[in-house]
């Protein structure tokens, strides 16, 4: 959404504005409507510096587009209000409505706002064996280890222990192989962008991060050695081409795909890094075997350390800029905030019956209980978690007066096997689960009856008006 390398041009002063913040007059206001939701940055990747002649034109164009956008919103709001009240002396009210709408759009774009999706989800009664419309995309001969969904919800990339990367088209269900046999190891993790990055077993071992261009071909365009042990997690910073990688060697490394170069290393984890997540800001979250979550502030070169009551934490996902959900090896879920060193909420036996949960928690006591993957529907309050207990559980984020209070379970969708990867569509229409017969990081559990592949589970959403009633 925001262009990498965006320039701060000189601000054009529009003729008259009533109490607008400077923010909305800058160039990036344009991005909110120009490519809402579409992350295919291929066409805009190489915008160079505008020369001084063109600066005016570009500025004027932005101004014009901004005015059109505002006019559009104004019209929509006015139409909405005409039906309700009389139009007399409504100018201020309309301005306020447009103001509100603009702020809401900005907040959503910057990741501060959350749509109320969870209340609209309709789940089947009980847990059926399969839900109507679900589809298993096969093609991997071994367990799928990671998934990535593009921002437009149309393409999905999956990587598996058998060393292949598959590109799936959600609507048509077609699959095609993307990699040319460079094996994708057990810790492969593609990212939704025009390049995918994944680790390899051969050709450098699983310590090397390979980068593919989805438009270019089957061979990786670049390989990044540098980690001293297998790479377990990969994440892109949204809206940019910065890649973070976490590894068993306890470090998190930054790579720039614009320059195809190594940038930085972050040290601090005392045991292996198992999962990473990043949003738009220059902060990355990592969790690992030392039972901590660490929020890395990259420009300041510091880390914030969060500790809870969990054993090894295996998965994490941001819900919004300063809050995230983690899944631990004993089946516990944690909801964290960047302002508190302990979790806001810790749910002990999220993926197993309460009776099975021992009072001290257990690592390895029940291989099927460990929460292997957590995913959040972007800019909403819907969270999905997956373990080996046959269910993809859906949770909603409850808000209290002081912000997010906790997670409450909505229900589950059937998914047999170990859910090694999860992605929730931005529209909330489906959940994609990367299924395997074995867990992602090893073979301490095996479900022979499960099927390897990507399971697309459709979600039924009530209409918005119906939900508000």
């Amino acid at each position: 959404m925001a262009r990498p390398g965006g320039q701060r041009g000189s601000r054009g002063q529009p003729p008259k504005r009533k109490k607008r913040d400077e923010f909305f007059e800058d160039e990036d206001a344009v991005d909110f409507f120009e490519d809402a939701g579409d992350n295919q940055a291929g066409e805009e990747a190489d915008e160079g510096e505008p020369s001084s002649d063109e600066e005016e034109t570009a500025e004027q164009k932005r101004l014009r587009l901004a005015k059109e956008y505002l006019a559009g919103i104004r019209a929509v709001e006015a139409a909405g209000r005409d039906g309700a009240e009389d139009g007399a002396s409504d100018e201020d009210g309309l301005d306020a409505a447009v103001d509100r709408r603009l702020r809401q759009d900005a907040a959503e774009a910057m990741g501060w706002a959350q749509r109320a999706l969870a209340a609209r989800v309709v789940l089947p009664e009980g847990v059926p064996r399969s839900i109507p419309g679900q589809k298993l995309h096969r093609g991997h001969s071994q367990s799928v280890t990671a998934l990535a969904l593009t921002a437009d919800d149309r393409t999905l990339y999956s990587v598996s222990k058998d060393g292949t990367i598959l590109r799936h088209d959600i609507e048509s269900g077609n699959r095609e192989r993307m990699s040319s046999g460079a094996a994708a190891g057990p810790s492969g993790a593609p990212a939704a962008h025009w390049v995918t990055a994944c680790t390899s077993r051969r050709g450098g071992g699983s310590r090397v991060v390979h980068v593919w261009d989805t438009r270019a071909g089957l061979a990786p365009i670049k390989s990044f050695p540098g980690h001293k042990d297998a790479v377990t997690a990969l994440a892109f910073r949204l809206g940019t081409h910065e890649l973070f990688s976490g590894s068993l060697d306890r470090s998190v490394k930054l790579w720039s795909l614009d320059d195809l170069a190594y940038v930085d290393s972050l040290f601090g984890h005392q045991a292996e890094v198992l999962a990473l997540d990043a949003l738009r800001t220059e902060r990355v979250l990592s969790v690992g075997g030392d039972r901590t979550c660490r929020l890395w502030k990259i420009p300041e070169e510091t880390q914030l350390i969060f500790r809870g009551y969990h054993p090894v934490i295996e998965s994490c996902a941001f819900t919004k800029g300063g809050e995230w959900v983690t899944g631990a090896a004993d089946g516990a879920l944690g909801l964290w905030s960047a302002a508190r060193k302990k979790p806001l909420q810790s749910i002990r036996a999220a993926h197993s019956a309460e009776a099975d949960a021992s009072p001290l928690g257990s690592i390895g006591g029940n291989a099927a209980a460990g929460v292997l993957s957590v995913a959040v529907c972007p800019a909403s309050d819907l969270v999905a978690t997956g373990a080996g207990d046959g269910l993809v559980r859906l949770w909603s984020l409850d808000k209290g007066t002081k912000g997010t209070k906790g997670l409450s379970q909505l229900g589950g969708l059937p998914a047999r096997g170990f859910v090694n990867g999860l992605a929730v569509a931005r529209s909330g229409r489906f959940v994609a689960a990367g299924m395997g017969q074995e867990p992602r990081m090893g073979r301490w559990g095996r479900d022979g009856k499960a099927r390897n592949g990507v399971l697309i589970l459709p979600l039924t959403l009530r209409a918005e008006d119906a939900a508000e009633e």
Partner: protein, 227 residues
């Protein structure tokens, strides 16, 4: 390189700073990367100051590699507990109570063990194994014997007491036996028992031998030979 949208949130994300103020920060360069890094470095270098809010997470540098020899799981060290001072561990020892609560050991468990050891001894082969089993058997038998002797003494004392109580009720003035007197009476009762069961001779013989061995040291020692 990074878009300024991102630097808005580089500061505390939980603070609700108005957009206008953010824009002002941006304008005067305080969200610049080097400025932020310098600020963070001074805060870290200033030392572990007490945080204004202790619920906030701790902050550390991300540039120091973690050594191979490290504490892999950081957390509060497990406190050792001394059972002598722990209120939850045990409490004062009351022999009577203990023996009454654990009477089942002497009534059921040890006799079982003795039976098992005897059977094992019959089957065992090898001097070491037999010696080991024999030692265990002896311990079990002695424990049982000791408990029986204790119970017999207790029983005897209780009998004396009840006799005395009856006499007092009948009108006699209360009289408490000395310990030595009680011992003498016990000995007398023991002799009666032994005589009745016919083991008196053996018992006296053992007693005599033991005393003789003890008195042996009082015999005159042979003179040390002059070198």
């Amino acid at each position: 390189m990074p878009c300024y949208l991102h630097s808005f949130q580089a500061e505390e994300e939980d603070d609700e700073v108005p957009l206008g103020q953010r824009a002002a920060q941006l304008a005067d360069g305080s969200t610049d990367r080097t400025a932020m890094r310098a600020r963070a470095r001074t805060t870290l270098r200033a030392g572990r100051q007490p945080r204004e809010n202790k619920h906030r997470p701790s902050e550390a540098s991300s540039k120091r590699p973690v050594p191979v020899l490290r504490e892999s799981i950081q957390g509060p060290r497990a406190q050792g507990k001394d059972p002598r001072f722990e209120s939850l561990a045990g409490g004062a020892f009351d022999e009577r109570r203990f023996k009454s609560q654990y009477a089942f050991l002497y009534d059921e468990k040890l006799p079982e063990e003795r039976k098992g050891l005897r059977a094992a001894l019959k089957k065992a082969k090898g001097a070491e194994a037999r010696a080991d089993l024999q030692a265990r058997l002896t311990r079990v038998e002695q424990a049982l014997r000791e408990e029986n002797a204790r119970r017999w003494k207790l029983d005897f004392k209780a009998k004396l007491k009840s006799k005395e109580r009856a006499a007092v009720q009948a009108g006699k003035t209360p009289f408490h036996l000395k310990k030595s007197e009680q011992k003498r009476l016990e000995l007398v009762a023991k002799f009666e028992e032994l005589k009745a069961s016919g083991r008196l001779e053996k018992y006296m013989e053992k007693r005599r031998k033991k005393n003789a061995a003890k008195d042996h040291r009082y015999l005159v020692a042979p003179r040390a030979q002059a070198q």
